[in-house]
Every structure is written in structure tokens, then in C-alpha cells.
Subunit: 715 residues, 2 copies
């Protein structure tokens, strides 16, 4: 074999590179030791590792082995490998399989073991870092007793000359990407790739919303710069583009609750098991999802400590302590924090994540009436967040007994609708907890209306409590409702940049002075808009073409694009392009900020109206059960007269299920889901549909109907 | 015994209560079962538990046992018991000790076992909830086979009649208070208590700042409504009064960094072990304090997951991914979040807590120069938070090599000083990380100045990084610097209420109309101040006297009190009282907001100046080592010419240590601490003190001095 290897080195036309000999080495540590004793090596070099994997292959077929060639300290990762090469469960190959395919022992395999003759038995996964390495790279030649130092590109060229299938993988991102579906695998230049515009898939959305909603959603979020995947499943990074939307939601809501007298505070994220488990019904709902801290540094903790899934049991012992008299009421506290619910269901960015940001308000009142008034006020503001910031319509109502907050008295909700999937989605909930928790935690005041002579037991009044929460889920709903096949479509009140100004019409013939005049004018427009309180951004990056910028900002969903070129300057105007409709128009530079503000307001209203129409058009009132499943299958939610019984609600769910395909991805499974009750809308049908007590029957069970209830397949 | 017990029941003058007989019961569950089979019991009743404890007692003395009598579901807690009764380590008493003291088996002991004869052998800890119980309370009489139902107060009366020492404890707060030093123990009415104004200790500060700083600090925080203790050690609740200060700090800083182009984002709180441990130097500093999640619900996690102690290793893998070109620089991200460092040292609210709120900025730049400029800008804003919001002076400088951030290039800091203890305290730090992390995480761009023909290895440019953080510690520093023996003293720019208006001079002779006129005028003043942007609050609570309100707001540190009575109304004026100095003055109602704003500005400046003078007066330049320890013992920090060597710094620490008393509480131990380097101030002494290279010697080791370094005992 030795002479064959020498031939290969010659093939690789290495200038001055030659193979050095040393003792055998079965791993990199031994290899390093062997090399240390030698002289005449390059001043600095990197070593490689070569690993051979066998993917899961049907028994009827011969497996194509995978030879992974990487820098020795690269974080190679079989999950990434599996995704990059689209193979199933790669495992280290047995020595006999390696011998059969490559005629060598695993420890001896290197890039040079692959020849034109055996190239078809394997494919190569090649570490991008080898190509990036500025130092020379050490590889074994004929066996583990021989080492040559060459450049990364030389190894790649050699491999390409053998005709082996080669995929370059960026393993520097391995740990990040392991959990992600988006894999950074670049096909090698010579590999046959489908004819696509180069780099197109890196920029635009390649999956239509209508065809693969889940894939579309993921692309829109990552390519729209909202979010990145993380190496812990169910956790995501909120990038500034999405976090700024959350800040706008915070500002809107925080201002309002402060006006109501709510104060912000911060309770610890940790809860002792004892406190967490105090309210049984409540904790039953959360227990399976609680994350437990059991170790600090090297020490096992004596008592395990939970990370809050919500803060009722964290806060209420203190309410018992702090509320000494009716003069301490109402007590209204809120916190903006994160909570952890370690769900094992399929995670979904923004909608179902293991850690999420939210606010949780917890208040205590003298009476049910005062508590209820607040519940409704908060719900109105939750609808306001959707309506005024996100241009998303919601339907307010009450949750059924089955769907209400565990341990509470009743739950109000605003429910949204995702047209693309026809599924309902809970927007935010405002709960009246009644006196259940105050009895549990002994939160009492002396009733100020109690007088001597009245029964002693009437003296003690258990306070009435509420809790209410709104999470970053709102961002996901907004994306799903408005986004299109060009990417995000941000409503003007949510967008970090409402307007981008793109200078156009600069050509090779444009003089420096003309160029400067144009850019100055662009900056003037930006300033005028900003001074008027419009979030404008002048994109004067000179390394990108206007076309690139158009695509970039469309992907990111900026509501208005202002194009401004020499001809516009002459005409004292600018061209506006709406992100939501694509409509082009022009505006005079005179009072441009007023006109743009009007345009933004119009767009907000148009986006809301469009979403509202889509929701309204897809609420079907069903008079008989036969209409229900077809309506659901047709991406509707259904409004049906219902008896309010929990058992009947279970029946609705059961009877509206379709065929289940367990292997199908989350969203394509949706049509098979049973319908849950979304809410009992506060606004009940009137006129011909009005429920006549004792006459109108439940559509499912035929008993007397109590309310129209909105049912739907849901998130 | 049965007849004796009957006598006692008679003594208790129970109307119609009688003892019922049943089988023996060694615990409450058995007791309940026994009672279930009986008829003629009260409709509702509560059961008690009686537990006997023996505290740790020197062998030379006879232990006084503790009989704990509580409702069966009370959360009794030996730590609370220990504190409430001031006994050491109470443990369940052995049967023979119980027999010796009370002549009964443990299972048979009840309140009625205690008699005048044996009262001296025990003391009683009595559950407040028994007194609060509206239902009748079941107790054993002569043995566990007998039960009587009586009222809680009857039990207490009986016990008092025996002369036994009795302490009522509020066990409903047990779990909360376990971690707290503040114990809710009310001496029983008949117990001998020192002559104090009833309830005084619940309102005012009882521990002078000078005498017991640590006790004072705790009282000021809890009684000033800033914070509450929590049942997990090292975790605290930030109540609205302190959280609102944090919101003001956030607003100040967030506005400024956004102007610089920093964007907010949110990274997950969880880190995989692999990512966390990637940078070895860095993680070495944090590893012993990392909290690990190992379980979710009932499932053990396959890989343990850390809660971030800081986010360098969380974020930088993504910087490597996101920074593709020099056009992506600078990348400046910030997050407002909480981090966890599970310290095992004595916790200190705000200063050393296991979870704390902070902001962490992480930025990447093209060059060291650009990175350094930002480091200094951020440090200036950190000083600004202290100076402009908290009226606290700090000294900016560079950390020594020994004290810099692990893994960084250099650390800048602003250092504060606590006059009451003479200790220095790190205010906030702004680090230049250099290229260490960018090399570790491979964060590179192509150098735009690279041209063909230049060496290939110059093409790749590792970015220059910074990280900087400011935490809720700032609040603790502010409290320690300004607070006095009346409570908190809040600087005007930090206070949630800058002015409280207290209506005065309402007497029994005041007519309803006069009262209404006065209160209307108070509300008018509040409105005028609020309209001018002053955070005013009219305290028109009619159930509290002006004197009570004065104390209340003094405790909470509100900067200005406005007193307004009928005479003031006549004179068209109001009386102002400054919280910082107590100075009284009057202001005309005409343009009151302008005058109050001037007063607030003056107060801010006065508070800052006072703190500045105290800091300046306590920085001693020491020319010889002999001066150093006496200066430190005198509550100074010292500025000494120093050689900059790490070994010498260790020597300074070692040589400045005093006698160590391991049992002493944190703060009284301070004088024994060795002095650490606080910083090398940017502003070095000039004139006579100026360092002459090669001539001026290090005060500690005698080698050539490089810089004046600030040393101090510190937090």
C-alpha cells in the first residue's frame, strides 16, 4: 500500500510535502504523542480525524458507508450528519464492514484510503473547518503509522478526483444545529444539484404557506430574523427583530395596568416542592412539566427545587402575610418574567416552548364584583394588544368548565384563528380564581361590615383573587396570520422599522456628487420621518443592490418601502410600496411624514379587516352534527348550540377526530385532531339562531342547549 | 388520671363540652379514624397535634422541654421554633425525657398534661391558628383515648393558669419565615416582656445603623417595603417599592444603549453542559455555583442542563453563526434577564443572591480600538446610574489582572464605598474580552483590508468582543449609603413617590365641609405636581393619623413630605420636610411644582455631595505599609503605590487580615477581612504623590511601583 499512497501524494502535487513515519496510533492522543518526538514537522499544524459510519439501511440494500473527515477538535455530531446527508441513524461502522468497503482497518482509514475503485461504496462528509484552516493539516497516508501535512483544499481536490460523493458540512455549528431542522450543508461544487438560482434558498422563502405550513413558519421565522434555534429542544433565541415586538406589547400593556394601580415586582424563579404542591388541583395540571434543580456545582441539593411553571403558589403565601386588613386591598401585582414548562409534546416556536416570556398579574379584592370587573378590563386590554398592536382579531368569551384554569373559578379568554390551518388558538387568558386559593393560603381580612352580634364566622373574609397572563405566543399568532410567501408581514404598530428608505437609480454613470446629493436627501427623509415619531430606517449600505435590499426587507416584513431615485428627487416625490398588498404609489416630499403616517394607519386597518373577514368567514354555525366535521375539515371553527356539559364536550372531541397518522408532522396531523371548545363567546348569536331555553337542543347530545360554544381544532 | 383530667375540664368552665372515649391513637390519621366512628361530635372541628422537643442544652444544665401545641395541619417548623423561643437545635424529645418531665408517654401528652406542678419543666409554643380557629378544637384529655372539644382561647387560658411559660407563634408563616431572621413571635399577654411601646418594633427601625449594620440593613429593607425573605435561602422577593427603582435604572440605561445602536434580545436561561464548559478559564470561575436541572416531571433528563450564570458561552456560538462579514459589525446585543449563581457563602439581599436581575450586554467589533471606546462609554453610563439616579459616587478604574473577568482581556469597573462599614463595593463592570472568546468560538470575518498577495492567514480577523453588566446590586448600595436610623432615604430620581402630601390639622371640631375643602386642595396639589412630571402621592387615607403617616413614609424613604393643614390653606402655602436632613420649610402654593422640582434637584445634589465627601474623606493615601492596616481598621479604603504583581496583591490581602471569629455574623467579621484590590483608578494621584518610575516603590513589597491601586475590605 505504501507506494500507492506515495502515488497519491504525487497526484496531489504537494510542494515539498512528504509522509513521515512513526509508531501506530489508534486515536488522536496517541497520534499527537507520536508526532511530538519527530522533527522537521511544520511549525503549526492541525490534525484530522476520520470516522466511518453506517446508516440504517433496509436489509435488501447494501449500505453506503459514510467517511467523516474532520479537524480533530471539531464538534462532529451524528444528528447533524444524519440531517446533512439525509441518512437514518448513522452509527460507527463495524471493522468488517469497513474492511469490505475500503480494504482497510478503521484506524488506518483516511482520505487517501478512498480511490476511484472503491468510491462508490462510501460517501464523504467533509468538515468545512478543514477548508478554513490556515494551518497545514495532518492526515494519515497508507496507515496510522504515516502522516503527511497538506492543505485542506488539496485533500478536497483529491477526494473529488476519485468521484466519491462529497458533502461539506459546517461542524462549527454542530451543537447549535443539532436541534434545528435547518442544516448548514453546502453541496460540494462537483456534486449534482438541482438547478436553482445560486444562494436563492438562503435568502427567500422556499416553502409555500399553503403547501407546508409548518415548514413555511419555520423559514419565515429564521429567515425573517425573528428567532434562531437552540441546542436545547423547545428553547429558542428571540432575536432583536422579534424582541422589539415584545417590547411594544409590554409598553402598551404595562402603561395601562399601571394606570389601574397595578405595580410590578419580581418573585424568585425557584419554588420549593412543599410550596409548589400546596394546591392539589392546580399542581396536578403542571406537575408533569415541572423542571427540577437537584444539583448546585458538585453538590446534590438536600431538597429539590422547582422552576416556576406559573407563580400562584409562589406568591400567595406572601399575600397571606401582606394583606392584613381590608385597607390593603386591592393588592395588584404583576411581573414580567419567564416561566418553564417542560413539555414533551412537539415544540413550536412562540406557541409551545419550554421557557417563555410573559407577564403574570396576580390581584386580590374585597368582593367577587370587584374581581370580576378587573378580569374583564384585563381581557379587553389583551384583545387590545392583538387588535391595536398586532392587527389580529380575537373573540372574547368564557372558557368552559373543562377548559378553565385548574383551581380557578372561571376563565375568560380571547381566541384567535389561523386561516392557513383552520385552527383556533388561545390568545390570552384572564382568570377569576374566586376564593379557592385564598382559602388554601388563608388570605383573609376582617370584614369591615361585620358588627358585634353578627356570627363570628362571618367576620373573616377570604379575598377574591384574579390571575392573568399574556405571553410571547402573541408574536407567533401575528406571524401565522399575516405572513405570506415572501416572508413576514409586520403590522405597522408592531414593526421595529415601519419604513425603510432605499436609494435607487445609482448607476455606473452616476457622479460622486449626484450620489451624495441623493443619499443626503434619503437621510433628510429619514430624519423628517423620525422627528414625526415614525420608525424609519435609511438603508444606505453601498455594498448591496436595491433589488437585494427589497428582498431583504420584504423577508423581514417591513410595512412600507420608500424608493427614492434621481427621478423622484426631480419630481419631489418618493415611491411607496406596501408590504401587505404590494401596492405601489407615490407621495410628495412635502409633508411626507403626515402622508406616511396616514398610510401606516390605513395599512393597520386593512390588515386587521382582512384578518377579521377571514375569521368571520370561517366561523360556521352548525345546526346539526352532520355539518360539524365537514366544516372543521374545511378549515372552519364551528359555533354550536351546546348543553355546557363536560361529558358532551368530550364526545364532541372524540366524534370530530379523523384518521390518525402518527408519523405525520404536527401540522399535517391537524385535520385528524378532535375539536376542543375554544370559548363560550360573550356575544351570542341573536335573531333566528338565538337559543330558546328548553327548545333549542345541543347539537351533539340533544339535551337542552345552554349556550353557543365555539369549537375548533386548535393549537 | 381520668378524674384529674375531668377536673381540668371543669376548671376550663366548658359549657357542655365533654370528653369522648375511643381507641388509642399514636398519630392524627388514627385519631381522625377513631373519631369518624363516633356520633355526637361538633359539626365542624379542628384537631391539634402536640409535639415535645428538647433543645440543645449544655450538659451541666437540665433541658427545659418544649411542648408545641398546634393545629394538626399547621406547618410547624423547628427552625422557626428555634428562633421564636431562642433555643438551639430543638429535636424530638426521647420518650424517657418526656416521661421524666411530664409523667406521660409522648402520644398521650396534650395541653392538659401540663399542671402547676410540672409547669417549670417545660415551656409551651402555642399556635396562633388555634386562637384564630372559628371551629372548636379537639384535644386529648387524660390520654390519646380521650378527646374533648373546646375553644382555642380556653386552652390558652388553662395553660396560663398553670404558670407555664407560653409563647404564641404564627405558624401560618412558617414556611415563609424559615429562611428569614425576622420571626413573627408574639409574647403571650402574661409573659414578662420588656417595656416597649406596643407594636413599636413592628413599625420603626429598632437597630441602629452604627451598632449592628447587618441587622439594620435587614430591617430597613423589610420594614421599608423593599423586599421580603423567601423560603429558599439566597432568594428574595423584590417588592414594588424596590422594583420601581430597578425600572428607573432600566429606563436610564436602556435609552442610552439604544442610542448607541444596542438591540435587546432574549436567549434561553438553559445551557447544555457541553456549551457551558467550552471556555475553560471562564467556566472555572462559575462551575462551583452552577445550578443544574436534572429532572422534568418524573423523568430524569438524559443530559443535565445548567441555568445560565452569565451568557458568554450561551450567546457566542450564535455570534459565530450570525457574523458572516465585517458588514455585520458591530453586533451589539443586550438582555435584561435573571441569572443564577448558587453561592454557598452567606447571602445578602441585593448584594449576594442566588438569583439576581441584571442586564448583560455582549458586543463584537472590528478592532480593539472600537471595542475599547464602547467599554469606556458603557462604564460612564454605569457611573451615571449611580450618580444621576442613585446619588452615589463611584470611582472608575481598571481591575488588576487578579481581579479581572475570567477569560477576558481587561475589566473596567466603578467602585463604591459603604461608609458605615468602611468597605468597598464593586458597582458594575464593563469588560473588554479581547479575542479570546472569538478564537474559542471561531467568530471571524474576512478582513476588508486584506488584498491578494498578502499572507493568507491575515485574511481571517477574529472579532474583538466586550461584555458588560449592571445588576440589582445597585439598589443595595444605594440603601447602604443613604439609609439612616429612621429607615430608607431614597434619592429623588430613584423614588417611586418623590413627594407625599399629608393632610394635617383635621380634628374632632373640623366640619365635614372644612374637611372636604382641605382634601380637595390636597388633591389639587397632587394633580399640579403630577402634571409637572413630579411623582406625587396624596395620602388621604382617613383611618391613619398624620403622625402614623409621617413615620410610614419616613420608613419608606420618600424624599419630600408636604404637610398641608387649614392654616397652610389660609396662608396659601404648604410645609416641606426633607427626608435626608429633616429640614422643614414652607413653599407658596403659587408655582409649587417649580419650587418642589428645585427642592428635589437640590436634595439630589446634596445627597450626592454628602456621600462623595464621605468617600473622599475615607480614601487614605498610605506611603508605608505601617499605615495600611490602621487605615483599614479605621473604615478607610487605601490608595497605595503598587507594583501590579499578582503575588504582591495576595500578600496585601494576607497581611491586612485581622483576627477571625468564625461564629461572628458577616458584618462584624469584616474587620478581620484581608483587603482586596478594588481598582487601579483612571485618575492617578498627581503632584507630590505622583509615581516616579524607578523611584517610587511598591508599599507592600518594595519593588518598583507601577500604579496607585485602591485596596479595601470589600463586599
Amino acid at each position: 500500500m505504501a507506494s500507492e499512497a506515495a502515488d497519491k501524494l504525487a497526484q496531489m502535487s504537494l510542494n515539498g510535502a512528504q509522509s513521515v513515519s512513526h509508531g501506530p496510533c489508534s486515536n488522536t492522543a496517541e497520534w499527537k504523542t507520536q508526532l511530538q518526538s519527530l522533527s522537521g514537522l511544520p511549525e503549526s499544524y492541525a490534525l484530522t480525524k476520520t470516522l466511518v459510519f453506517k446508516p440504517k439501511t433496509p436489509k435488501s440494500q447494501t449500505a453506503v458507508l459514510i467517511v467523516l473527515i474532520a479537524l480533530e477538535d471539531s464538534d462532529t455530531n451524528s444528528a447533524l450528519l444524519s440531517k446533512a446527508l439525509d441518512v437514518k441513524e448513522p452509527r460507527f461502522a463495524q471493522a468488517d464492514a469497513v474492511q469490505a468497503a475500503l480494504g482497510a482497518k478503521p484506524a488506518d482509514v483516511s482520505a487517501l484510503t478512498i480511490t476511484k475503485e472503491n468510491a462508490a461504496t462510501v460517501q464523504v462528509a467533509f468538515d468545512q473547518r478543514i477548508l478554513d484552516s490556515t494551518a497545514q493539516v495532518g492526515i494519515h497516508t497508507s496507515s496510522s503509522e504515516q502522516t503527511a501535512f497538506v492543505s485542506g483544499s488539496e485533500i478536497k481536490s483529491y477526494l473529488e478526483s476519485t468521484g466519491v460523493k462529497l458533502t461539506v458540512i459546517d461542524f462549527s455549528l454542530a451543537s447549535i444545529q443539532a436541534a434545528s431542522k435547518e442544516v448548514v450543508a453546502k453541496p460540494a461544487v462537483k456534486a449534482k444539484a438541482p438547478a436553482v438560482v445560486e444562494g436563492a434558498e438562503l435568502i427567500g422563502i422556499t416553502v409555500p404557506k399553503e403547501a407546508d405550513f409548518s415548514g413555511w413558519y419555520q423559514q419565515v421565522l429564521t429567515k425573517g430574523d425573528m428567532l434562531d434555534y437552540y441546542d436545547i429542544s423547545g428553547c429558542y433565541i428571540l432575536k432583536p427583530w422579534s424582541y422589539s415586538i415584545w417590547e411594544k406589547v409590554q409598553k402598551y400593556f404595562d402603561f395601562r395596568i399601571k394606570g389601574l394601580g397595578v405595580e410590578n415586582c419580581y418573585f424568585p424563579m425557584f419554588v420549593s416542592a412543599k410550596v409548589l404542591e400546596r394546591e392539589k388541583d392546580h399542581i396536578e395540571g403542571f406537575a408533569p412539566e415541572v423542571a427540577w434543580v437537584t444539583k448546585a456545582g458538585q453538590n446534590d441539593l438536600e431538597e429539590h427545587i422547582a422552576i416556576r411553571p406559573t407563580s400562584e403558589t409562589v406568591m400567595y403565601p406572601y399575600y397571606a402575610k401582606w394583606i392584613r386588613s381590608h385597607r390593603d386591598l386591592p393588592l395588584r401585582l404583576n411581573q414580567w418574567n419567564s416561566v418553564v414548562r417542560w413539555e414533551f409534546k412537539h415544540p413550536q416556536p412562540f406557541l409551545r416552548t419550554r421557557e417563555f416570556l410573559w407577564q403574570e398579574g396576580h390581584t386580590a379584592h374585597m368582593s367577587e364584583k370587584l374581581a370580576s370587573e378587573e378580569v374583564m378590563q384585563i381581557l379587553e386590554w389583551y384583545q387590545g394588544v392583538y387588535r391595536d398592536i398586532l392587527a389580529v382579531p380575537t373573540i372574547p368569551g368564557k372558557k368552559t368548565e373543562k377548559e378553565k384554569f385548574a383551581g380557578g373559578l372561571y376563565t375568560t379568554t380571547c381566541e384567535g384563528y389561523i386561516p392557513a390551518t383552520g385552527r383556533g388558538i388561545q390568545g390570552a387568558t384572564s382568570h377569576c380564581l374566586g376564593q379557592n386559593f385564598s382559602k388554601m393560603f388563608n388570605i383573609t381580612v376582617e370584614d369591615p361590615s361585620w358588627k358585634d352580634g353578627m356570627p363570628e364566622e362571618q367576620k373573616k373574609l377570604h379575598v377574591w383573587q384574579n390571575s392573568w397572563g399574556l405571553s410571547t405566543r402573541v408574536i407567533g399568532v401575528m406571524v401565522m396570520v399575516h405572513g405570506d410567501n415572501k416572508g413576514l408581514v409586520l403590522p405597522p404598530n408592531a414593526a421595529q422599522y415601519q419604513v425603510v428608505i432605499v436609494p435607487c437609480g445609482i448607476t455606473a454613470r452616476t457622479t460622486d456628487e449626484q450620489r451624495k446629493t441623493l443619499l443626503d436627501a434619503v437621510l433628510d427623509i429619514e430624519k423628517e420621518l423620525k422627528d414625526a415619531g415614525i420608525r424609519a430606517f435609511a438603508d444606505v449600505r453601498d455594498t448591496y443592490s436595491p433589488g437585494y435590499k427589497f428582498n431583504d426587507w420584504e423577508l423581514k416584513g417591513v410595512p412600507v418601502r420608500l424608493e427614492f431615485g434621481p427621478k423622484d428627487m426631480e419630481k419631489k416625490q418618493a415611491v411607496t410600496v406596501r408590504r401587505d398588498t404590494g401596492a405601489k404609489d407615490s407621495v410628495a416630499l412635502e409633508n411626507i411624514s403626515g402622508q406616511i403616517q396616514t398610510l401606516l394607519d390605513t395599512m393597520h386597518q386593512d390588515m386587521y379587516n382582512k384578518a377579521k373577514k377571514s375569521f368571520d368567514d370561517n366561523i360556521k354555525i352548525c345546526k346539526t352534527w352532520d355539518e360539524v366535521v365537514p366544516a372543521l375539515d374545511n378549515k372552519n371553527v364551528v359555533l354550536i348550540a351546546h348543553c355546557d356539559s363536560e361529558e358532551c364536550e368530550d364526545e364532541v372531541k372524540e366524534n370530530s377526530k379523523g384518521r390518525v397518522d402518527a408519523d405525520a408532522p404536527e401540522d399535517s396531523r391537524a385535520p385528524s385532531m378532535g375539536a376542543k371548545s375554544l370559548c363560550i363567546p360573550f356575544e351570542q348569536p341573536e335573531g333566528e339562531h338565538k337559543i330558546v331555553p328548553g327548545v333549542t337542543k345541543c347539537v351533539q347530545c340533544g339535551e337542552n342547549a345552554k349556550h353557543y360554544t365555539l369549537f375548533g381544532r386548535s393549537y
